[in-house]
């Protein structure tokens, strides 16, 4: 298998090995070795938590530079709903749409428009009654990967629908081909990403073999240029409203928006990766069985809290509420009665076996005994000096062969103390002997 691409990466020079990220990583995927943080690829879910907490700005998200769009003959940009909450003094969606074209894009396809189709499909599927409840949203790729690694049992509850970004990409390309007559590969589909998880999902899609998105440009990169373009467009005045989405699609940018659009009252929406984990733990033990739909977003407040955004998530959320109030309820519906198969997953989303100690059960048991033994011999301070998030994690690392007991500075000090005292007693011995002569 080709190596898994992760958008979240480390700037070695900036990293001071302070263990802030090690302690905060929700999947214990980071260790400090030789003074620098390292990410354990199998465990990383690209949630961006380490980018958020690093005091030295050593963690960043790999995305595509905006200049890459020049490769394509016809460029379509996909703004996510959360982008509309990033700017002050913004009256309507049209201004951002016009400014995006000012930056060199030929067409705009709002992800919120595709989200309305996904909502429609979700409602139909809930009504048909063939989904296993509580149905878990599949839109946040960080959450989906977390489920694959840590809650494989819940994969059967995950909504088997493409995320709005993928649906938008597909529809945008079809439309562009029809308008221009160009070949599909001559069209560039560019997503403005609020998070590393989406950038990763484009390279390693889930639920489909190949992503329809060609490039992921970060909100933080496009932000200043877009602001300048918006100011220019505001002066010139924008044309008639051409925006494609209503309240329902735009509300997907906030936690709870997708769930509310299912029209069920029995829903739960959790945001922030720690809260998401708690909800999944409950679900795994059947304690949320009375819910129809569970929306989970890795970021606080939902995608408006994506780590590549500029604006404070709660400010952005409030602004979006205001923007939405001028919009119709929804602008997009599925035609026909059934859910078109283009919206459904066409590739399996399988569990990822990253927690198991060893493929052999007996061997796992043996290793676990060893881990318990080592853990008992450690001080239980969870200080992180060894580069692992806790004493328990160090014990696991030792047994897995990734670290040694000498990594623990307290055990090392004990060793040094023992050597010192045995050296002292050596001295006394030899003096005694010389006295004998």
């Amino acid at each position: 298998m080709a190596e898994y691409f992760h958008s979240v990466t480390l700037d070695k020079d900036a990293c001071r090995g302070c263990i802030t990220c090690v302690k905060r990583c929700p999947t214990e995927a980071i260790r400090v070795r030789d003074g620098k943080a390292r990410i354990i690829a199998e465990r990383c879910i690209d949630c961006g938590e380490c980018i958020r907490v690093c005091p030295h700005h050593a963690k960043h998200a790999v995305t595509d530079p905006l200049s890459e769009i020049e490769k394509y003959k016809y460029k379509v940009v996909l703004p996510p709903p959360s982008l509309f909450g990033q700017y002050k003094r913004q009256e309507d969606l049209e201004l951002i749409r016009a400014a995006l074209c000012e930056l060199g894009f030929d067409a705009v396809y709002e992800v919120a428009a595709a989200a309305e189709l996904v909502s429609d499909a979700t409602r139909r599927m809930l009504e048909e009654g063939e989904l296993i409840k509580p149905v878990i949203s599949s839109a946040c790729p960080a959450v989906l990967r977390l489920i694959r690694i840590r809650f494989p049992h819940l994969l059967k509850n995950v909504l088997p629908l493409s995320a709005p970004m993928e649906v938008a990409a597909r529809l945008a390309r079809e439309k562009a081909v029809a308008v221009t007559g160009f070949k599909p590969e001559e069209i560039g589909i560019v997503f403005i990403t609020p998070c590393p998880a989406k950038a990763t999902a484009i390279k390693n899609p889930m639920g489909t073999e190949i992503s329809g998105v060609d490039l992921a440009v970060s909100v933080s990169e496009i932000y200043p240029a877009l602001l300048t373009a918006m100011n220019k467009c505001a002066l010139e005045g924008t044309g008639p409203d051409t925006s494609q989405s209503g309240r329902m699609g735009l509300s997907w940018g906030n936690s709870g928006g997708e769930a509310a659009a299912t029209f069920t009252v029995r829903y739960l929406a959790a945001d922030g990766i720690e809260n998401v984990i708690k909800v999944l733990e409950e679900m795994e033990d059947d304690r949320l069985a009375d819910q129809d739909f569970v929306e989970l977003n890795a970021c606080p407040a939902g995608c408006v809290g994506g780590v590549l955004n500029i604006e404070n998530p709660y400010v952005a959320a409030t602004r979006m509420k205001h923007l939405r109030s001028y919009r119709p309820v929804a602008c997009n519906n599925l035609s026909g009665d059934s859910v078109p198969k283009e919206l459904l997953w066409d590739a399996e989303v399988a569990p990822i076996d990253a927690l198991r100690l060893d493929p052999l059960p007996e061997r796992s048991l043996e290793m676990m005994r060893e881990i318990e033994k080592i853990e008992k011999s450690l001080y239980g301070l969870d200080c992180g000096s060894c580069g692992a998030p806790s004493c328990r994690a160090l014990a696991e690392d030792i047994v897995l062969g990734f670290s040694t007991e000498d990594a623990c500075i307290y055990l090392l000090k004990d060793k040094v103390d023992a050597v010192r005292s045995s050296m002292l007693s050596l001295k006394i011995d030899s003096r005694d002997k010389s006295g004998d002569k």
């Binding site: 795994e284 927690l355 676990m368």
Partner: protein, 143 residues
């Protein structure tokens, strides 16, 4: 249990809802690392959680011992609470002595013990009024 089994011990404080569930989630994590079949993990963590909550609600806390070997998971929950007067009655769905206050917290549906029965392969309850209760749960490991 065989000598080689893993052993864990947990102290469950009484009347502390914020900490209830600690034993079951810790055991769950261990079982996942052992690569135990997910359905087995689920059975154990559902039933252990119910037992843990019962100790908090009805018995002012207690202690839990868990043993894991390659054939089964055994959990022993021991408390010095009021004991269960009529076990047969307690096992019935919907039967509960939980207070209004506890019901307000979403417990007291009388489903805990029936669920423990349903999700474990063996459930033994040994209780003496005024002395305490010992619940033994066994879940077999499917290979």
């Amino acid at each position: 249990m065989s000598e080689n089994s893993l052993h864990y011990h947990y102290v469950v404080p009484g009347d502390d809802f914020t900490r209830a569930g600690i034993a079951s989630s810790a055991v769950k994590k261990t079982l996942k690392q052992l690569g135990i079949y997910p359905e087995t993990v689920r059975k154990l963590s559902i039933s252990l959680f119910e037992g843990e909550i019962n100790m908090v609600i009805h018995a002012d806390g207690g202690e839990i011992d868990v043993w894991i070997d390659d054939e089964k998971i055994v959990a022993e929950l021991v408390d010095k609470g009021p004991g269960i007067e009529n076990i047969e009655l307690a096992m019935q769905e919907g039967w509960s002595t939980a207070s209004e206050q506890v019901r307000g917290l979403g417990f007291g549906a009388g489903m805990g013990l029936p669920n423990m029965k349903k999700y474990s392969d063996e459930l033994i309850i040994d209780s003496t009024v005024g002395v305490g209760t010992k619940v033994t749960l066994i879940v077999n490991i499917v290979k």
